[in-house]
Amino acid sequence: MKEKFLVYVTIEGKPMARDPEGETIHRVLLAKSRYNMVKSVRVAKLLKMIVEAESEDEAERIVTELCDNLRLYNPAAHKCSIKVNGRIK
């Protein structure tokens, strides 16, 4: 029987591409001296998907495949990670 899974897709810049948004937040934090314990900030985009599948593994496989096939990330600049985050009732 099919179940529903919550799958997280995180799309973020590759290390060599600059992340101006993360840098800006970091700069503002550093400017307020009491937050200098924050050593770096990077911003990513998170897609939360609800996927119907037979198993966690299948859910992960489906989403991995669709991210590549539909190019949910641009391989020239981004990396993408997928994580199943449990079942949904």
Partner: protein
């Protein structure tokens, strides 16, 4: 000469592009809805600017999956001249017709501004009658226009003469100050290896009538005229 201007849901420079083209003799611009399938009847294709699908997920990515892009790819392989302007450039990149990525501007803000670009190659249909090293004044208007490509692939762009436009300052230099969005090497436009597919962030259709230019120039029109001259040349051969 029949030129197709493709309208995707959310395109907003489609009619502007048609208007600019209609001012050039012997050109018949047509607005093509992205679900039509008659692209092969045209001599050239333009993907106009705008916010196709609201730029949701990433500028250009959703439109890149539109069925019409299969035809665009086919025709690109056959050598048809194809120009992507702004969002059109983003779509060509996301459809893998051009290399690299267009990322969010360094300033994290939308930028609407007249810039100066230098023509880096005239081997494309759209720069065919322009002089290499000549300058154009054209406006940009984008949020995600920072051209990025990994170092190794950047070398190839140079090697295969794929850089078409670069942002330059008043002295004609691609300086940091002239770089509006943080693009790598001030790149404002590129082409594929064959040269028939060109993408550019600046909007030539907005610089095609002197009354619209703060410099009273019509530099954008030159890009369209170049296409026409190129097509004429091809048809003579």
């Amino acid at each position: 000469m029949r030129i197709a201007v493709i309208r995707f849901p959310g395109s907003n420079c489609d009619l502007d592009t048609i208007e600019a083209l209609s001012k050039i003799p012997n050109v018949e611009p047509h607005l093509i809805w992205h679900e039509d399938n008659e692209l092969h009847k045209y001599d050239a294709i333009i993907l106009p600017g705008g916010f196709s699908y609201g730029d949701y997920l990433r500028a250009g990515i959703i439109a890149a999956h539109s069925p019409i892009m299969k035809q665009v790819k086919n025709l690109a392989e056959k050598g048809m001249p194809i120009l992507g302007i702004c969002n059109g450039f983003q779509i060509l990149i996301e459809a893998n017709l051009l290399p690299g990525a267009l990322l969010r501007n360094n300033s994290l803000k939308f930028i609407c501004k007249w810039v100066r670009v230098r023509v880096e190659t005239n081997r494309t249909p759209f720069t065919y009658t322009l002089n290499k090293g000549s300058f154009l004044r054209i406006p940009i208007a984008h949020n995600e226009g920072r051209y990025f490509i990994p170092k190794s692939e950047l070398k190839d762009l140079y090697k295969y003469d794929q850089i078409v436009f670069r942002y330059v300052d008043e002295l004609g230099k691609p300086s940091n100050k002239a770089n509006p969005n943080g693009s790598i090497d001030n790149i404002a436009g590129i082409c594929n290896r064959e040269g028939n597919v060109v993408g550019m962030m600046p909007h030539p259709e907005r610089a095609s009538q002197s009354i619209l230019s703060p410099y009273y120039t019509e530099d954008g029109k030159k890009i369209f005229e170049s296409l026409i001259n190129y097509m004429r040349m091809v048809s003579l051969c």
